[in-house]
């Protein structure tokens, strides 16, 4: 069977192609369109997937959209009615938005791809999340917890999945929490309150939380109440997001916590105002973690299973994931490489294959590298045209030794290998790498490459075999670190020598690198370890602020030229920073 999965129109649209039960490729639209968090219909991603699979649209057995548009519209309309007359301002906008396109997905897919309407299917949003988490994890039986802002109506679901010996899949969502009561929306409201963009700034809230104390926890707990059955209810008098207002928090919210941060105002943690923002971030983080741990514990008691699969945007919260692993009783916690909406394209395709068409389950390769391949020739071409120093190092060991020695010299390396990652993390194929030892390196990266807030930490990558030496990993922690999904303490004795990747609270969002998953990256870490005694590298996504992670070599090249990256590696090609190749303005202007 040939199935195309699509997610679109909220944030991070993506496409996946599944052939005979196995993913062939998957890519987010932003990597091709070069618009960060591109939510538009992913036509470029679809075209690339079909080209990669060597298929025409007419050869597809099914195209699956990741949610049910009519059900979503029902929610939007119902919320407008419930909020009458306060929703008068948002109603026209919501209707124009839905009726102007988002509602007519079947027609859009049919007209854009020329696929017959009866081949277009619709999974449920949280079913797609659940499938993306469970059916890509190396387990046959697991509890499932998905949480995000909102899908159609569902904001959080609890369930379980199993695969029997014949490969038949059961995916059972037992119960769900419905909009407007939403953990994701709670966190996003605080994200907006703290002056960060929703769906993008949540990482910043998590990073900021480490600088604060949860002194506002009582106030946050007033906003979210637990019910007798273990669910949660938001006190809607603190919020306005459910009424579609431009602001997601209410005046009462401000009365409780003080004035919101102006997005244009920088955060200075040395000031009382900066400290207040950090304390508020710490408070909402604490409440989120407590609720998630409690939900996971109840799921453990109910299912008695050893494994938990987490899905939805909330599963990107590495601090919460680590606490769930430590405190919920589950032996393993699996978070896919793309737990957010981008991964739903894969999830929806798997739902169609395993549940709708009842195809036997096949284990999905346990890696995140589903996107376009790097073309080293492209880098060679542009570098030679620009007269840069280019080296081709065909011998693997030569390449690894060269890059490792440059890293030891304190140089920053843009590292592009193989296929681009699916999901928000750069996991060694589109990464910026640097020595992790000094705070100076962290500041240099913040200043000359990432141009981002100082309170945001950088992540370390370490071969899985050495992870325990540097980080305090609970049982199952190494697995959670596979896709950089958990935040764990750095061992105290390494704080000083891993200063660039140790956050203010002594933790790090570690990536544990498996040789089988990323052999070249693993070899580089080992080579660096052989030279320094510490096989750990700082690994941050290969992009500049406001841009998506690079995809093609030429995009890596332009990023390299515009930033403080010293060395660019694509495949076997190595380019050094230009010295005499600057454009002479007078020659051309």
């Amino acid at each position: 069977m040939r199935i195309l999965g699509i997610s679109a129109h909220y944030h991070d649209s993506a496409a996946t192609l599944l052939v005979d039960g196995m993913p062939v490729c998957a890519v987010q639209e932003e990597r091709l369109s070069r618009h960060k968090n591109d939510a538009s219909f992913p036509i470029a991603a679809i075209e690339w997937c079909l080209e990669r699979g060597g298929l025409g649209p007419d050869e597809l057995d099914a195209v699956v959209f990741y949610e049910k548009p009519m059900l979503k519209f029902e929610r939007i309309l119902t919320m407008a009615l419930r909020g009458f007359p306060r929703t008068w301002h948002s109603f026209p906008r919501a209707m124009k938005n839905a009726l102007g396109g988002k509602l007519w997905i079947k027609g859009i897919i049919s007209s854009q791809l020329g696929v017959r309407a009866n081949r277009i299917l619709f999974a449920e949003h949280h079913q797609s999340h659940a499938a993306a988490a469970f059916l890509t994890a190396p387990t046959r039986r697991a509890a499932i917890l998905t949480a995000d802002g909102v899908g159609e109506w569902t904001t959080l679901s609890l369930g379980r999945g199993s695969v029997d010996d014949s490969g038949a899949v059961t995916l059972e969502l037992l119960r769900e929490l419905r909009f407007p009561h939403s953990l994701g929306m709670l966190y996003s409201t605080f994200t907006a309150y703290l002056g960060f963009p929703i769906n993008e700034g949540e990482y910043k809230v998590m990073g900021l939380a480490s600088y604060g104390k949860p002194t506002f926890e009582p106030q946050v707990r007033k906003m979210v109440r637990r019910t007798a059955d273990g669910a949660l209810v938001l006190d809607l008098s603190y919020f306005e997001f459910h009424e579609g207002a431009r602001r997601s928090f209410s005046d009462r919210f401000i009365t409780e916590l003080g004035p919101p941060r102006d997005p244009l105002e920088p955060i200075d943690l040395a000031t009382p105002e900066g400290a207040r923002y950090a304390d508020i971030a710490a408070s909402v983080q604490r409440v989120l973690e407590d609720i998630l741990v409690d939900l996971a514990r109840s799921l453990k008691r109910e299912t008695g299973l050893d494994d938990l699969c987490l899905g939805g945007g909330v599963a990107l919260n590495g601090c919460a994931n680590a606490r769930i692993l430590r405190e919920s009783g589950f032996r393993n916690v699996y978070v896919p490489c793309a737990p957010g909406d981008a991964g739903c394209a894969l999830g929806a395709a798997l739902v169609a294959d395993r549940l709708h068409f009842r195809q036997p389950h096949q284990e999905v390769p346990d890696h995140p590298y589903w996107g376009p391949q790097i073309d080293a020739q492209e880098l060679s071409r542009v570098a030679s045209e620009d007269g840069l120093e280019l080296e081709e190092l065909p011998r693997e060991s030569e390449l690894i030794d060269r890059v490792a020695s440059e890293l030891v010299r304190g140089r920053i390396v843009g590292w592009m290998q193989g296929s681009t990652e699916l999901g928000p993390r750069a996991l060694g194929n589109r990464s910026v790498l640097a020595a992790p030892h000094s705070v100076r390196m962290r500041d240099k990266l913040n200043r000359s490459i990432k141009y981002r807030e100082e309170f945001r930490p950088f992540a370390p990558a370490v071969p899985i075999e050495h992870a325990e030496r540097f980080f305090e990993l609970p049982p199952g922690g190494a697995r959670l670190g596979r896709f950089m999904s958990g935040v764990f303490p750095v061992r105290r004795e390494w704080h000083d020598r891993l200063a660039a990747v140790t956050h203010v609270d002594g933790t790090a969002r570690v990536q544990t690198v498996d040789r089988k998953m990323a052999p070249r990256f693993h070899a580089l870490l080992e080579a660096y370890g052989a030279l320094t005694g510490i096989p750990v590298l700082l690994n941050t996504s290969f992009n500049l602020a406001g841009e998506p992670i690079v995809n093609r070599a030429v995009e890596g090249y332009s990023t390299f030229r515009r930033s403080g990256i010293d060395l660019l590696v694509a495949g076997q090609a190595v380019v050094s920073k230009p010295r005499a190749a600057q454009v002479a303005p007078e020659a051309v202007a």
């Binding site: 049910k68 009458f84 109603f91 739902v351």
Partner: protein, 244 residues
């Protein structure tokens, strides 16, 4: 190539003077300019990535660097001013929009020639406006000096885009510029038409909201009150054919 303000901008000098007189408004405008410049840098970088012409690529990268540097300058100065004033004032972005970036141009679908023509006109318009800003900022020498510095880059951008267009399309240079002018006019028309259509749509939907919805709203509120708290059972037996 020297930048000159357009007649409209010259006529609007008193207005620009009023807009830039207030410190908080100035700070916010500079911070918005910073975002526009950063957006512009991204678009021009994309152009550098897509062009097959090595000279253009180098120039675009330099141009993107300049825009990024301007973004930093605007941000830094905006923050300095922002720290010195916290009063909230009307920003008047419509009255003095500054740069419009690349006008939502789809860089990927443009040829080198059309992109250069478009860039030339955009830079020329922005440079002309910056001349006016420089003129009206006698109350703030620091910001004025910053505009003067940025203006030098803008003049270089105007100049290189014109020269490169002449290199790539020696015979069609004028035509491309006129096409770009027409494109800008068309985009301005589209902006106005879209805004007008959106306004009409909003009015019609708002009328329907107040005329048709009240009864249904009553029913929806009653149903919401009856909804139990906490978890609901997940839907079962829904097929993938259904959009509900």
């Amino acid at each position: 190539m020297r930048a000159e303000p357009s007649t409209v901008d010259l006529l609007l000098v008193p207005l620009h003077r009023w807009v830039w007189a207030d410190v908080d408004r100035r700070a916010r405008k500079l911070l918005r300019f910073s975002e526009t410049e950063a957006d512009g840098a991204r678009d021009i970088t994309r152009a550098a990535e897509l062009t097959r012409d090595a000279t253009l690529r180098r120039l675009y990268l330099r141009h993107a660097d300049d825009e990024q540097r301007h973004a930093v300058l605007f941000r830094r100065r905006g923050r300095e001013l922002f720290d010195s004033s916290r009063a909230r004032v009307f920003e008047a972005n419509w009255l003095a929009p500054g740069e419009r970036g690349l006008d939502d141009l789809d860089v990927g679908s443009e040829s080198d020639e059309t992109l250069l023509a478009f860039l030339h006109l955009s830079e020329k318009a922005a440079a002309g406006r910056f001349v006016v800003y420089e003129k009206v900022l006698d109350c703030d020498p620091q910001t004025r000096a910053m505009f003067a510095r940025i203006l030098e880059d803008e003049e270089f951008h105007m100049s290189y885009t014109r020269k490169q267009l002449a290199r790539l399309a020696p015979r069609r240079c004028g035509l491309r510029l006129w096409q770009a002018r027409a494109g800008r006019l068309w985009k301005a028309y589209l902006r106005i038409a879209t805004a007008l259509a959106a306004l009409l749509g909003t009015v019609m939907l708002a009328v329907q909201y107040f005329v048709i919805l009240p009864l249904f709203a009553l029913l929806a509120k009653r149903a919401a009150r009856r909804e139990p708290e906490g978890f609901s059972r997940s839907r079962a037996g829904v097929t993938l054919e259904s959009q509900y």
